[in-house]
C-alpha cells in the first residue's frame, strides 16, 4: 500500500474542502484498502468521512426512506422499518459479504466501489478500464462476467445494495462545493460505452450525502444466487418490486445484478407483467423475456438458466406466491 496523508473531516463542507485531485474519500474503507493493497489505487490523501455526524442515520416518514451514506450494511439489514416495508433492501444487505464486512461497509461506499473483474483487480493486466486498449475478459476467463452490454468492457457492477435500490426507484443526493443535485440511481450508473473508465456519473470531489427511497405500496423481494451457501459474491441476483391492484400487477420493476456493467433493468420482463395477473405462467414469460436479448461470452451462458429460474421465483415470491418446485 502506498503512503498517504490522512484527514479526519467533521462535516461535509470540511470533506469537500479537504479533497484534492489526488485524494479519495474514505467511508468504511473496505474497497479502498482492497484497491490500494492491490496497487490499483494510490491516492496521496485519504479524507475520512466516516466520522461526519448525521450521515449514519436511517429515517422514515410518509414520503419514504432517507438513508445516510455512512449507514452500514448491518444497519440496513437490522432496521425494523426497512425489514417491514422495504424487504428487498434488508434481504440484499443481509446477503452481502461477511458479518464483519457488513459492520464496516457503508451504503455510499457500496454504491461507488469499483468492479471485481479479476483482470481489472490485477496489476498484471492493463485493461481498457485502466487506460489500456483491450478487455481481457472478451476471450479470457469470463465465467463471472456480464451477459449484457459486454463488448467494450465485460465487468458486472459489484454493488449488491444497488440492485434493490434501483428497483425501488432510489435516488442519490449528491453534494459538491457548488451545490446539491439529486439523481435517480438508474441514471447514476453508466455503461462502459459511455465512458469505460468509470461506472457512475460521480465527478471527483462529489459526495453522496443521502439515498432517498420513495414510499410505495409495492411488494418487493430479492434473491441472490451464489456458488456456495455461505458468503460469496453473487453469480446472479435479482430484485423485484410489484405494485398491485387486486391480483393484477399495475407496475413491475425488475433489476438484475451480476448481469451487466450496471444494475440491469429488465424492461422486457416488466412489460410482460404490467397490467397482468401474476401467475406461474406470466412469471415464466417475464423471466424468459428478461434473458431474450442476452449476449453471453464463451464461458458464462450458464447464467441464463440461473437468471430464468431466480427471476421467475422472485416475481412469485414478491407476489406472495410459492414457486413450483421450491421449498417454502
Amino acid at each position: 500500500m502506498n503512503r498517504f496523508d490522512w484527514v479526519n473531516a467533521n462535516s461535509v463542507d470540511q470533506a469537500l474542502a479537504s479533497v484534492t485531485d489526488e485524494s479519495s474519500f474514505k467511508a468504511g474503507g473496505v474497497d479502498l484498502l482492497d484497491l490500494m493493497k492491490d496497487g490499483i489505487a494510490s491516492p496521496s490523501r485519504l479524507v475520512n468521512i466516516r466520522q461526519i455526524s448525521g450521515l449514519d442515520q436511517i429515517s422514515e416518514d410518509d414520503k419514504g426512506l432517507r438513508i445516510g451514506p455512512l449507514v452500514t450494511l448491518t444497519q440496513i439489514e437490522e432496521h425494523p422499518a426497512v425489514q417491514k416495508t422495504y424487504a428487498a433492501l434488508s434481504e440484499a444487505a443481509s446477503r452481502i459479504a461477511t458479518p464483519q464486512i457488513r459492520n464496516m461497509a457503508t451504503v455510499g461506499g457500496n454504491l461507488v466501489q469499483r468492479p471485481r473483474c479479476w483482470y481489472f483487480r490485477s496489476e498484471d493486466f492493463h485493461c481498457r478500464k485502466k487506460g489500456g486498449t483491450h478487455c481481457f475478459a472478451q476471450d479470457g476467463e469470463n465465467d463471472y462476467h456480464a451477459i449484457f452490454d459486454n463488448r467494450v468492457c465485460a465487468i458486472i457492477h459489484p454493488s449488491g445494495i444497488a440492485v434493490p435500490l434501483v428497483a425501488m426507484n432510489g435516488r442519490a443526493e449528491i453534494t459538491a462545493k457548488k451545490g446539491k443535485r439529486e439523481v435517480a440511481l438508474e441514471e447514476f450508473f453508466t455503461s462502459p460505452t459511455h465512458d469505460v473508465h468509470r461506472e457512475n456519473i460521480l465527478e471527483p470531489g462529489e459526495l453522496i450525502t443521502a439515498i432517498v427511497v420513495p414510499a410505495s405500496e409495492a411488494r418487493t423481494a430479492y434473491y441472490k444466487q451464489g456458488e456456495k451457501e455461505s458468503f460469496d459474491w453473487p453469480i446472479a441476483d435479482v430484485a423485484v418490486s410489484l405494485a398491485m391492484q387486486g391480483s393484477r400487477c399495475s407496475k413491475a420493476s425488475i433489476v438484475l445484478g451480476g448481469a451487466a456493467p450496471y444494475p440491469y433493468r429488465a424492461k422486457a420482463a416488466e412489460a410482460k407483467l404490467n397490467n397482468s395477473e401474476i401467475t406461474e405462467d406470466s412469471a415464466r414469460a417475464a423471466a424468459d423475456a428478461a434473458m431474450a436479448n442476452a449476449t453471453p461470452l464463451e464461458k458464462n451462458a450458464y447464467k441464463i438458466p440461473i437468471f430464468e429460474a431466480i427471476v421467475r421465483r422472485t416475481i412469485l415470491r414478491a407476489a406472495g406466491m410459492k414457486a413450483e418446485g421450491v421449498a417454502a
Binding site: 484527514v7 467533521n10 466520522q51 464486512i101 458468503f231
Partner: protein
C-alpha cells in the same frame, strides 16, 4: 467468486513483495527504526480531529503517534496512516494472538471487536480506530479465568490447527455480548465469515450453544 485469480496471476511470494512494496523483513526493519525515532513522529493526543469549516488538518504520510484503547488499556503506537489495525496490534504492540491470513477481509481470521462490533482488523486503519475500544483475543480472559467461550472451545475441542481460532472466538464472544441466547442459526450467521480450513464448524456451534447455556467448561 471470491478469492479467484485470473490465469497466470498467482500471488507468488516474489510478486507479493512487488505488489505490497515492502517485505516482512523490511517492514520489521523499519518498525525497528520506530522505537529509535519516536521523537520524530508527529505527537498527537488521541485521534487528530480538525474543527471549523475549512480544510481539516492532515497528518502523515510519516509516523503519527496514536493512542489506542486496547483490552482496557490506553497504548501509544507510532505508525504511518497506512498501517492497519492488525499490523499495529501485531507488530507494534506484539499482540500476536490476532492472525492475518488473507489480508483482504475475506477470511475473518483477523477479527477484533471495536466496542462490541466484530470487524476485520486487516481492513481497518489504525488511524481510524479513534476512541473505540479494541478487544483482541488477549483481552477476553481475566487473568487465569478464561472467557466462557474460550472454556467451551477447549471443552468441545472446537479447534484443530488454531489459525482461525482467535477470529472465531472473537466472533462468538461478540455474538454472546449482543445476543446471550442465540439460536443455532444465529451462531451460523455470526461465524459465516470465519473461514476454517480444518472444518471445525460443528464443534464451534456446540461450544457456543453450551457457553450460552452456562455449560462452557
Amino acid at each position: 467468486m471470491s478469492e479467484k485469480l485470473p490465469p497466470g496471476s498467482d500471488s507468488s511470494p516474489s510478486q507479493d513483495k512487488q505488489k505490497h512494496g515492502t517485505t516482512r523483513r523490511t517492514f520489521l526493519k523499519s518498525a525497528g527504526i520506530v522505537s529509535a525515532s519516536v521523537a520524530g513522529a508527529e505527537m498527537l493526543t488521541g485521534v487528530p480531529r480538525a474543527e471549523g469549516q475549512e480544510q481539516a488538518g492532515a497528518v502523515g504520510p510519516g509516523k503519527v503517534a496514536l493512542k489506542l484503547r486496547v483490552n482496557g488499556e490506553v497504548r501509544t503506537v507510532n505508525v504511518e496512516p497506512r498501517t492497519t489495525l492488525a499490523e499495529a496490534l501485531r507488530d507494534e504492540l506484539h499482540l500476536t494472538g490476532t492472525k492475518v491470513v488473507c489480508d483482504r477481509g475475506s477470511c475473518s481470521a483477523c477479527t477484533v471487536m471495536l466496542d462490541k462490533t466484530p470487524v476485520c482488523s486487516c481492513m481497518t486503519l489504525a488511524v481510524d480506530v479513534g476512541d473505540r475500544n479494541v478487544t483482541t483475543i488477549e483481552g477476553l480472559a481475566h487473568g487465569e479465568d478464561l472467557h466462557p467461550i474460550q472454556a467451551a472451545f477447549i471443552e468441545h475441542d472446537a479447534l484443530q490447527c488454531g489459525f482461525c481460532t482467535s477470529g472465531m472466538v472473537i466472533s462468538c464472544a461478540s455474538l454472546l455480548e449482543r445476543n446471550p441466547k442465540p439460536s443455532a442459526d444465529d451462531v451460523r450467521t455470526a461465524i459465516s465469515g470465519n473461514i476454517c480450513r480444518c472444518a471445525t464448524y460443528p464443534r464451534v456451534l456446540e461450544a457456543v450453544v453450551a457457553a450460552s447455556q452456562g455449560k462452557g467448561a
